[in-house]
Amino acid sequence: MSTIVTLPNQEEARLPKLSYLNSEYGLKSWLLTGDHKRIAMLYLISITFFFFLGGAFAGVIRLELLTPQPDLVASDTYNKLFTMHGVIMIFLFLVPSVPATVGNFVIPIMVGAKDLAFPKINLLSWYLYVAGACFLVYALLNGGVDTGWTFTTPLSTHYLNTHVITAAMGVFIAGFSSIFTGLNFIVTIHRMRCPGMTWFRLPLFCWSHYAASILMVLGTPVLAITLVLVMLERTVGIGVFDPTKGGDPLLFQHLFWFYSHPAVYIMILPGMGVISEVISTFSRKRVFGYTAVAFSSVAIAVFGFFVWAHHMFIMGVSNYSALVFSLLTMLVAVPSAIKIFNWAATLYKGSLTFETPMLYAFGFMGLFTIGGLTGVFLGSLGMDIHLTETYFIVAHFHFVMVGGMLMAYLAGVHFWWPKMTGRMYPESMSQLAAVTTFIGFILTFFPQFIVGYLGMPRRYHAYPPEFQVLNVLSTAGATVLGIGYLLPMLYMPWSLKYGKIAGSNPWQATGLEWQIQSPPLTENFVDIPVMDHEAYDYEWLAHKTEHEVTTVG
């Protein structure tokens, strides 16, 4: 199979003598670092741990659902399993996934700066993440929480005696981690661009992160205050969300979903940024319709604030309001679709090669499209009444979050791995893993659309026996999926020692990060660059490499 990978001569190549990895030694130099690249690596390790913890819960859930009877775990335990799975996967994995790892690492370099605007706040972000995670682990070890990740009231405020306050505190703190990351990105992209780096020369990865950061900064505080109200309510109990005492449970839901809907865009937008970069590089073509993709990112962010009550159609909102939110939901699908069309147009007549990041990108395009379209079904009121709170919803959000976002995350990690570590991962192993996850994913989640449409409710550990075949298929798929996710855990660490030396630009990509050494110096650039060409300018790259002598080591 053809490949665009261009590595230096492996006989002579060595990693650069000085890089951000060896510029300082010792635990303190990592735990008190201001270097955005080291912080990105700290995040990478943390979120990988929590990904597998959340995944373990998913594994037990799928095991339980092998049989229609509730025979593996007790009801309360099952509630705790899906709650912890959701809370960990959303707040400790998906929200920080691309921004905190790849974004932190690459955005300053992409804009031509020596670091993010606020390095100390960046480090604080990581510590807040860890602190929030500690609260959640404490809640987990002390019996878990069984409210569902949505903390719905008055169940969470009045009718449960699990560690709701601890878990809410954990999410509250992790939320601030997210806020500070977003704040840092917005300021960096506005104020730290190097000379010549106009807005429309920025890689689309930066545009996506800019849009996601706006959501992080404006949306997350509402979640914070909502959780504070839940915590106060559990303590004082005067009924702010309890209908028996004159409160309105829907007030909680309005405030909760005001964040949690933009949250899904916080999760997916950075992934879309990765896809723009990957598709362009492995088609050897500039992204079709740069302006449209850039503005659609911002449009998703803006419209994303107007649609939250589509999570509440059956909860008791007024018909008029349901109508308005349904119409707006149709509207928010448009910018996402624009991006898919633009990526497809980028592929058209491109010079395609199928390295691992590209395989994940293809997976993203197909699976996100299916997930997104099913979202449109759910956005229409009549269908939603039938489909909501069933496995159709579960399948929908797993298609967009796992088939979409997680694949984009893996694409990003693989794509920038040579830059972050200086080494290539083993291509055939990684392609096997990518294909395995794709097959495993479809087997796991497609049956869930069917079983949901047929009426199986979500968050139940018992179901009518006629749904068993589909559930067994889903669990079998989950096993394959698990293998697919475990493989990178084997070959990525392997590559740190035995992977091929990558050189500065193994993918022959455009973008400032590929013009510096791998791994980069602590200060990224010896001299601040001057940007004199457009984004995705492959002619400029060809002209440059013609005259260039690459030495590595």
Partner: protein, 246 residues
């Protein structure tokens, strides 16, 4: 002109001339650093707007649903103390702004004076607030176990309309929001005053009157924001429906 994107910048030579100690390595000019810090603080204030926003939404809803209880609850708050506190906080905003002016005109003594006045006024505010909280405690208006509906079902003041017992219970919602909103505001004040002590110490040693006014500027923004929150809290909590003067 070579074909590399990375070129030696002329800016590198210029920046050595104007490279004060407080310029961080990842910024090119002092101006960039100053504007960046200011932008960052404004974004943080946006998060605070949305944070308090949730509480305002809860308030709006329940004021609408239980208007009579909210009126009754509001009328138990001391308007004299409330208005005084508002004036105190506005005055402290003025002294803070004057502190910023002192920093910008490199007036160390002026900065120290105005920061001290701001701290003083902040403490006066908190003192009056604690008196108000104490009054609520004594009157059994704190929501929860010790709450008593007596004052609302059988009001002492003849002008007050007695509430039905269930509506009187809803006054707890008013007081819950009162304590939540003013408490959250007071927490921000406490944090602000703590930071002010820290700033005062460094200002005394000349840290902010040597051209590096960013810290004082941006703390000023925070302080003014806390003032703005109170500017909205005051009419919403204290002035729902005071009895018209006859």
């Amino acid at each position: 002109m070579d074909s590399h994107a990375i070129v030696t910048g002329q800016e590198q030579h210029e920046e050595h001339e104007e490279h004060p100690a407080y310029l961080r390595h990842h910024f090119v000019t002092v101006e960039q650093q100053r504007e960046t810090a200011s932008f960052g603080m404004w974004l943080f204030l946006l998060t605070e707007i949305m944070f308090f926003g949730g509480l305002f939404m809860a308030y709006l809803l329940y004021r609408n649903w239980y208007y009579d209880a909210f009126v009754a609850g509001s009328n138990t708050l001391g308007i004299g103390l409330g208005t005084t506190n508002t004036a105190v906080l506005i005055l402290s905003s003025f002294t803070m702004a004057m502190g910023v002016y002192s920093a910008e005109t490199r007036n160390r003594k002026g900065l120290v004076t105005f920061l001290s006045l701001t701290i003083l006024l902040g403490l006066v505010f908190l003192g009056i607030k604690s008196k108000e909280y104490h009054d609520k405690y004594v009157e059994h208006h704190i929501p929860g176990a010790s709450f008593s509906v007596e004052d609302f079902v059988h009001p002492a003041d003849k002008r007050d309309v007695p509430l039905a017992p269930d509506m009187a219970q809803h006054a707890q919602l008013f007081f819950f929001l009162y304590f939540a909103m003013t408490g959250m505001h007071a927490l921000h004040m406490v944090i602000g005053i703590s930071i002010l002590f820290f700033l005062l110490y460094h200002a005394w040693h000349g840290a902010y009157t040597n051209g590096h006014t960013s810290t004082i500027d941006n703390f000023g923004l925070y302080w003014h924001f806390v003032d703005i929150v109170w500017i909205f809290l005051f009419p919403l909590l204290y002035l729902i429906s005071r009895h018209p003067l006859k």
